[in-house]
Amino acid sequence: MSSAFTPVLDELTRHRGVRASLIVSESDGLVVDSKLRFGEHGDRVAALAASIFRKARLSARAAHLGAVSFLQLDAEHGRVCAVGRGDLVLMVVADPAANVGLIRVELLKALGHLA
Protein backbone atom coordinates (compact mmCIF):
# COMPACT_ATOMS: atom_id res chain seq x y z
CA MET A 1 0.00 0.00 0.00
CA SER A 2 1.40 3.39 -0.88
CA SER A 3 0.91 6.75 0.81
CA ALA A 4 1.60 10.35 -0.17
CA PHE A 5 5.09 9.87 1.27
CA THR A 6 5.99 6.73 -0.71
CA PRO A 7 7.73 8.58 -3.61
CA VAL A 8 9.90 10.49 -1.10
CA LEU A 9 10.91 7.29 0.68
CA ASP A 10 11.53 5.51 -2.64
CA GLU A 11 13.81 8.32 -3.76
CA LEU A 12 15.81 8.27 -0.51
CA THR A 13 16.15 4.49 -0.43
CA ARG A 14 17.55 4.54 -3.96
CA HIS A 15 20.78 6.15 -2.74
CA ARG A 16 23.81 3.92 -2.36
CA GLY A 17 24.24 2.60 1.16
CA VAL A 18 20.75 3.56 2.38
CA ARG A 19 19.25 0.60 4.24
CA ALA A 20 15.92 2.13 5.16
CA SER A 21 13.90 5.30 5.17
CA LEU A 22 10.97 5.97 7.46
CA ILE A 23 8.49 8.66 8.37
CA VAL A 24 7.63 8.53 12.05
CA SER A 25 5.33 10.46 14.33
CA GLU A 26 7.56 12.21 16.86
CA SER A 27 4.94 12.30 19.60
CA ASP A 28 4.07 8.60 19.71
CA GLY A 29 6.91 6.98 17.73
CA LEU A 30 4.53 5.22 15.34
CA VAL A 31 5.61 4.57 11.75
CA VAL A 32 3.63 6.60 9.21
CA ASP A 33 5.31 5.04 6.16
CA SER A 34 8.55 3.16 5.59
CA LYS A 35 10.90 1.43 3.17
CA LEU A 36 12.82 -1.13 5.21
CA ARG A 37 15.64 -3.45 4.31
CA PHE A 38 16.83 -4.48 7.73
CA GLY A 39 14.30 -6.98 9.03
CA GLU A 40 11.60 -6.89 11.61
CA HIS A 41 12.80 -4.19 14.02
CA GLY A 42 11.50 -1.20 12.07
CA ASP A 43 8.83 -0.27 14.61
CA ARG A 44 11.23 -0.31 17.56
CA VAL A 45 13.92 1.60 15.69
CA ALA A 46 11.36 4.18 14.57
CA ALA A 47 10.15 4.71 18.13
CA LEU A 48 13.68 5.07 19.47
CA ALA A 49 14.78 7.40 16.67
CA ALA A 50 11.70 9.56 17.17
CA SER A 51 12.49 9.79 20.85
CA ILE A 52 16.13 10.73 20.17
CA PHE A 53 14.99 13.44 17.74
CA ARG A 54 12.49 14.72 20.31
CA LYS A 55 15.18 14.91 23.00
CA ALA A 56 17.45 16.84 20.63
CA ARG A 57 14.62 19.24 19.78
CA LEU A 58 13.66 19.81 23.42
CA SER A 59 17.28 20.33 24.50
CA ALA A 60 17.73 22.85 21.66
CA ARG A 61 14.60 24.61 22.83
CA ALA A 62 15.87 24.65 26.43
CA ALA A 63 19.10 26.23 25.16
CA HIS A 64 17.20 28.78 23.01
CA LEU A 65 18.93 27.52 19.89
CA GLY A 66 15.84 27.43 17.66
CA ALA A 67 14.51 24.51 15.64
CA VAL A 68 16.56 21.39 14.90
CA SER A 69 17.07 21.20 11.15
CA PHE A 70 19.15 18.02 10.86
CA LEU A 71 20.33 15.22 13.18
CA GLN A 72 23.04 12.65 12.54
CA LEU A 73 23.88 9.67 14.73
CA ASP A 74 27.17 7.92 13.91
CA ALA A 75 27.93 4.36 14.99
CA GLU A 76 30.58 1.74 14.32
CA HIS A 77 28.67 0.11 11.45
CA GLY A 78 26.36 2.80 10.17
CA ARG A 79 24.53 6.03 10.76
CA VAL A 80 21.05 7.42 11.21
CA CYS A 81 20.13 10.80 9.74
CA ALA A 82 16.88 12.64 10.45
CA VAL A 83 15.00 15.84 9.74
CA GLY A 84 11.70 16.90 11.26
CA ARG A 85 8.77 19.17 10.66
CA GLY A 86 5.72 19.47 12.89
CA ASP A 87 5.08 16.08 14.42
CA LEU A 88 6.77 14.12 11.62
CA VAL A 89 10.36 12.88 11.51
CA LEU A 90 11.88 11.68 8.25
CA MET A 91 14.80 9.37 8.93
CA VAL A 92 17.30 7.37 6.94
CA VAL A 93 19.38 4.41 8.13
CA ALA A 94 22.59 4.11 6.14
CA ASP A 95 25.81 2.12 5.92
CA PRO A 96 29.08 3.82 6.92
CA ALA A 97 30.05 4.09 3.24
CA ALA A 98 26.93 6.05 2.29
CA ASN A 99 27.42 9.65 1.16
CA VAL A 100 26.11 11.47 4.21
CA GLY A 101 26.46 14.89 2.59
CA LEU A 102 24.16 13.85 -0.22
CA ILE A 103 21.72 12.20 2.19
CA ARG A 104 21.60 15.42 4.21
CA VAL A 105 20.79 17.49 1.12
CA GLU A 106 18.10 15.01 0.01
CA LEU A 107 16.54 14.89 3.47
CA LEU A 108 16.40 18.68 3.72
CA LYS A 109 14.91 18.82 0.22
CA ALA A 110 12.31 16.19 1.18
CA LEU A 111 11.35 18.16 4.28
CA GLY A 112 8.87 20.16 2.20
CA HIS A 113 6.82 17.01 1.62
CA LEU A 114 6.25 16.61 5.37
CA ALA A 115 4.32 19.87 5.65
Binding site: L73, A75, E76
Partner: protein
Protein backbone atom coordinates in the same frame (compact mmCIF):
# COMPACT_ATOMS: atom_id res chain seq x y z
CA UNK B 1 12.39 34.61 9.37
CA UNK B 2 12.41 34.71 13.19
CA UNK B 3 9.97 37.29 14.62
CA UNK B 4 12.77 39.30 16.27
CA UNK B 5 14.72 39.55 13.05
CA UNK B 6 11.64 40.62 11.12
CA UNK B 7 10.80 43.27 13.71
CA UNK B 8 14.36 44.59 13.82
CA UNK B 9 14.58 44.63 10.00
CA UNK B 10 11.38 46.65 9.79
CA UNK B 11 12.67 49.04 12.43
CA UNK B 12 15.93 49.52 10.53
CA UNK B 13 14.06 50.07 7.27
CA UNK B 14 12.00 52.80 8.96
CA UNK B 15 15.08 54.50 10.41
CA UNK B 16 18.33 53.47 8.67
CA UNK B 17 20.42 55.69 10.96
CA UNK B 18 19.20 53.99 14.16
CA UNK B 19 21.40 51.70 16.24
CA UNK B 20 19.03 48.77 15.67
CA UNK B 21 21.54 47.37 13.15
CA UNK B 22 23.53 46.08 16.16
CA UNK B 23 20.94 43.64 17.60
CA UNK B 24 19.78 42.77 14.07
CA UNK B 25 23.26 41.82 12.83
CA UNK B 26 23.94 39.99 16.11
CA UNK B 27 20.72 37.95 15.76
CA UNK B 28 21.61 37.09 12.16
CA UNK B 29 25.13 36.10 13.24
CA UNK B 30 23.71 33.79 15.90
CA UNK B 31 21.49 32.18 13.28
CA UNK B 32 24.51 31.56 11.10
CA UNK B 33 23.47 34.05 8.39
CA UNK B 34 26.95 35.51 8.36
CA UNK B 35 26.97 37.23 4.96
CA UNK B 36 23.76 39.13 5.68
CA UNK B 37 24.92 39.91 9.23
CA UNK B 38 28.17 41.36 7.88
CA UNK B 39 26.37 43.46 5.29
CA UNK B 40 24.03 44.94 7.91
CA UNK B 41 26.88 45.57 10.38
CA UNK B 42 29.04 47.21 7.71
CA UNK B 43 26.23 49.52 6.62
CA UNK B 44 25.73 50.51 10.25
CA UNK B 45 29.45 51.09 10.62
CA UNK B 46 29.44 53.43 7.62
CA UNK B 47 26.93 55.60 9.45
CA UNK B 48 28.61 55.25 12.87
CA UNK B 49 32.33 54.86 12.07
CA UNK B 50 33.49 55.57 15.63
CA UNK B 51 31.11 53.17 17.36
CA UNK B 52 33.21 50.60 19.25
CA UNK B 53 30.33 48.10 19.48
CA UNK B 54 29.85 48.16 15.70
CA UNK B 55 33.54 47.43 15.05
CA UNK B 56 33.41 44.69 17.69
CA UNK B 57 30.38 43.10 16.01
CA UNK B 58 32.04 43.16 12.56
CA UNK B 59 35.12 41.56 14.14
CA UNK B 60 33.07 38.73 15.68
CA UNK B 61 31.28 38.06 12.39
CA UNK B 62 34.67 37.95 10.65
CA UNK B 63 35.92 35.39 13.20
CA UNK B 64 32.87 33.23 12.47
CA UNK B 65 33.72 33.50 8.77
CA UNK B 66 37.32 32.53 9.48
CA UNK B 67 38.68 35.95 8.41
CA UNK B 68 41.05 36.53 11.33
CA UNK B 69 43.02 39.31 9.64
CA UNK B 70 39.94 41.48 9.14
CA UNK B 71 38.72 40.60 12.67
CA UNK B 72 42.06 41.76 14.10
CA UNK B 73 41.83 45.04 12.13
CA UNK B 74 38.33 45.70 13.45
CA UNK B 75 39.31 45.02 17.07
CA UNK B 76 42.27 47.35 16.67
CA UNK B 77 39.79 49.96 15.47
CA UNK B 78 37.76 49.34 18.65
CA UNK B 79 40.84 49.97 20.81
CA UNK B 80 41.53 53.27 19.02
CA UNK B 81 38.07 54.45 20.13
CA UNK B 82 37.92 52.64 23.46
CA UNK B 83 41.38 51.50 24.68
CA UNK B 84 40.04 49.40 27.60
CA UNK B 85 37.37 47.51 25.64
CA UNK B 86 37.49 44.02 27.21
CA UNK B 87 35.87 42.27 24.25
CA UNK B 88 38.38 43.73 21.77
CA UNK B 89 41.35 42.89 24.01
CA UNK B 90 40.05 39.35 24.42
CA UNK B 91 39.35 39.10 20.69
CA UNK B 92 42.81 40.31 19.74
CA UNK B 93 44.26 37.81 22.21
CA UNK B 94 42.35 35.06 20.40
CA UNK B 95 43.34 36.28 16.91
CA UNK B 96 47.03 36.63 17.80
CA UNK B 97 46.96 33.18 19.42
CA UNK B 98 45.49 31.67 16.26
CA UNK B 99 48.13 33.52 14.21
CA UNK B 100 50.89 32.07 16.39
CA UNK B 101 51.88 35.52 17.74
CA UNK B 102 51.89 34.22 21.30
CA UNK B 103 53.63 37.10 23.08
CA UNK B 104 51.11 39.58 21.69
CA UNK B 105 48.27 37.18 22.54
CA UNK B 106 49.46 37.02 26.14
CA UNK B 107 49.73 40.82 26.34
CA UNK B 108 46.19 41.36 25.06
CA UNK B 109 44.72 38.69 27.35
CA UNK B 110 46.55 40.10 30.38
CA UNK B 111 45.16 43.55 29.53
CA UNK B 112 41.69 42.02 29.09
CA UNK B 113 41.97 40.39 32.51
CA UNK B 114 42.58 43.78 34.11
CA UNK B 115 39.85 45.57 32.13
CA UNK B 116 36.45 46.09 33.72
CA UNK B 117 34.50 43.91 31.26
CA UNK B 118 37.22 41.41 30.37
CA UNK B 119 36.05 38.62 32.66
CA UNK B 120 38.17 35.73 33.90
CA UNK B 121 41.07 35.21 31.52
CA UNK B 122 43.07 32.73 33.58
CA UNK B 123 42.23 29.68 31.45
CA UNK B 124 42.99 31.47 28.15
CA UNK B 125 46.22 32.90 29.58
CA UNK B 126 47.32 29.49 30.82
CA UNK B 127 46.68 28.03 27.34
CA UNK B 128 48.75 30.75 25.66
CA UNK B 129 51.59 30.44 28.19
CA UNK B 130 51.66 26.70 27.85
CA UNK B 131 51.70 26.99 24.04
CA UNK B 132 54.60 29.44 24.19
CA UNK B 133 56.48 27.09 26.51
CA UNK B 134 56.64 29.68 29.31
CA UNK B 135 55.06 27.32 31.79
CA UNK B 136 54.87 23.56 31.90
CA UNK B 137 53.54 20.97 34.23
CA UNK B 138 52.86 23.44 37.03
CA UNK B 139 50.35 25.38 34.95
CA UNK B 140 48.66 22.12 33.98
CA UNK B 141 48.37 21.27 37.64
CA UNK B 142 46.91 24.69 38.40
CA UNK B 143 44.35 24.28 35.60
CA UNK B 144 43.40 20.78 36.73
CA UNK B 145 43.13 21.95 40.31
CA UNK B 146 40.98 24.90 39.24
CA UNK B 147 38.67 22.61 37.29
CA UNK B 148 38.46 20.18 40.19
CA UNK B 149 37.55 22.99 42.58
CA UNK B 150 35.06 24.53 40.17
CA UNK B 151 33.57 21.86 37.86
CA UNK B 152 31.87 24.61 35.84
CA UNK B 153 35.32 25.49 34.50
CA UNK B 154 36.05 21.93 33.40
CA UNK B 155 36.24 22.81 29.70
CA UNK B 156 37.41 26.42 30.03
CA UNK B 157 40.88 25.48 28.87
CA UNK B 158 39.63 23.66 25.78
CA UNK B 159 37.10 26.26 24.65
CA UNK B 160 38.69 29.46 23.41
CA UNK B 161 36.03 30.87 21.08
CA UNK B 162 33.37 32.65 23.15
CA UNK B 163 30.64 31.04 21.01
CA UNK B 164 31.58 27.54 22.19
CA UNK B 165 30.10 25.87 25.23
CA UNK B 166 30.45 22.38 26.71
CA UNK B 167 28.71 20.32 29.36
CA UNK B 168 29.28 16.96 31.05
CA UNK B 169 26.12 15.09 32.13
CA UNK B 170 25.78 11.86 34.10
CA UNK B 171 23.59 8.95 32.93
CA UNK B 172 20.52 10.58 34.50
CA UNK B 173 21.03 13.98 32.91
CA UNK B 174 22.46 15.63 36.02
CA UNK B 175 25.23 18.16 35.42
CA UNK B 176 28.70 16.91 36.41
CA UNK B 177 30.79 19.70 34.97
CA UNK B 178 31.08 22.44 32.38
CA UNK B 179 28.37 24.90 31.47
CA UNK B 180 25.81 25.18 28.72
CA UNK B 181 25.45 28.84 27.88
CA UNK B 182 22.64 29.95 25.56
CA UNK B 183 23.12 32.65 22.89
CA UNK B 184 22.06 35.31 25.42
CA UNK B 185 24.79 34.22 27.84
CA UNK B 186 22.48 32.50 30.37
CA UNK B 187 23.51 29.22 31.98
CA UNK B 188 20.89 26.65 30.89
CA UNK B 189 22.93 23.56 31.85
CA UNK B 190 20.27 21.99 34.06
CA UNK B 191 17.47 22.53 31.55
CA UNK B 192 19.53 20.96 28.74
CA UNK B 193 20.59 18.08 31.00
CA UNK B 194 16.99 17.35 31.96
CA UNK B 195 15.92 17.18 28.30
CA UNK B 196 18.79 14.88 27.33
CA UNK B 197 18.27 12.52 30.25
CA UNK B 198 18.23 8.89 29.06
CA UNK B 199 19.37 9.63 25.52
CA UNK B 200 22.45 7.37 25.74
CA UNK B 201 20.30 4.43 26.76
CA UNK B 202 17.91 5.00 23.85
CA UNK B 203 20.76 5.39 21.37
CA UNK B 204 22.34 2.16 22.59
CA UNK B 205 19.04 0.28 22.21
CA UNK B 206 18.50 1.69 18.71
CA UNK B 207 22.02 0.65 17.71
CA UNK B 208 21.41 -2.86 19.03
CA UNK B 209 18.21 -3.24 16.97
CA UNK B 210 20.03 -1.97 13.89
CA UNK B 211 23.13 -4.11 14.57
CA UNK B 212 25.28 -1.01 14.16
CA UNK B 213 27.70 -1.67 17.02
CA UNK B 214 28.73 1.05 19.48
CA UNK B 215 27.47 4.58 18.86
CA UNK B 216 30.13 7.24 18.46
CA UNK B 217 28.43 10.61 18.26
CA UNK B 218 25.22 12.49 17.76
CA UNK B 219 25.33 15.81 15.98
CA UNK B 220 22.43 18.12 15.30
CA UNK B 221 22.10 21.45 13.58
CA UNK B 222 19.78 24.14 14.89
CA UNK B 223 18.97 27.66 13.71
CA UNK B 224 21.65 29.14 15.96
CA UNK B 225 24.26 26.44 16.57
CA UNK B 226 25.62 22.99 15.89
CA UNK B 227 25.55 20.61 18.84
CA UNK B 228 27.56 17.41 19.16
CA UNK B 229 27.38 14.72 21.83
CA UNK B 230 29.51 11.72 22.61
CA UNK B 231 29.83 9.16 25.37
CA UNK B 232 32.14 9.62 28.37
CA UNK B 233 33.01 7.05 31.10
CA UNK B 234 30.24 5.69 33.36
CA UNK B 235 27.49 6.39 30.79
CA UNK B 236 28.17 10.10 31.06
CA UNK B 237 27.57 12.38 28.08
CA UNK B 238 29.69 15.24 26.74
CA UNK B 239 27.64 17.92 24.96
CA UNK B 240 29.40 20.62 22.96
CA UNK B 241 27.75 23.50 21.10
CA UNK B 242 29.38 25.93 18.71
CA UNK B 243 28.29 28.58 16.25
CA UNK B 244 26.76 27.31 12.99
CA UNK B 245 29.77 28.69 11.15
CA UNK B 246 32.02 26.14 12.87
CA UNK B 247 33.25 23.55 10.36
CA UNK B 248 32.05 20.06 11.33
CA UNK B 249 35.61 18.70 11.31
CA UNK B 250 36.62 21.33 13.84
CA UNK B 251 33.57 20.56 15.97
CA UNK B 252 34.53 16.87 16.00
CA UNK B 253 38.04 17.76 17.20
CA UNK B 254 36.57 19.96 19.90
CA UNK B 255 34.27 17.17 21.08
CA UNK B 256 37.20 14.73 21.15
CA UNK B 257 39.27 17.14 23.27
CA UNK B 258 36.35 17.78 25.65
CA UNK B 259 35.75 14.03 26.00
CA UNK B 260 39.42 13.44 26.75
CA UNK B 261 39.31 16.21 29.33
CA UNK B 262 36.11 14.82 30.90
CA UNK B 263 37.52 11.29 31.07
CA UNK B 264 40.71 12.54 32.77
CA UNK B 265 38.75 14.65 35.20
CA UNK B 266 36.32 11.86 36.09
CA UNK B 267 39.15 9.40 36.71
CA UNK B 268 41.09 11.98 38.71
CA UNK B 269 37.99 12.96 40.65
CA UNK B 270 37.29 9.36 41.59
CA UNK B 271 40.88 8.87 42.75
CA UNK B 272 40.61 12.00 44.88
Amino acid sequence: MAPDIRRLSEELARDPSSMVFLPLAEALRQQGQLDVALKIAQRGLERHPRHAGAHDLVARICVDQGDLTRAGDEWEAVLRVSPDHGGALKGLGYVRFQQGRLDEAEQFLAQAASSADGGDMSAALATVRRSSGKVGVEADDVETATATLDPKRLFAEVLIDPGQTALLLDAHGYVLGGMYVDPDGSDVSHEVGAQLSGITDEVRRAMRHLAMGEWRSIMFETEAAVVAMTAAPDDALVVVAASRATPLGLLRRLVARCTERAAGWMTGGMQA
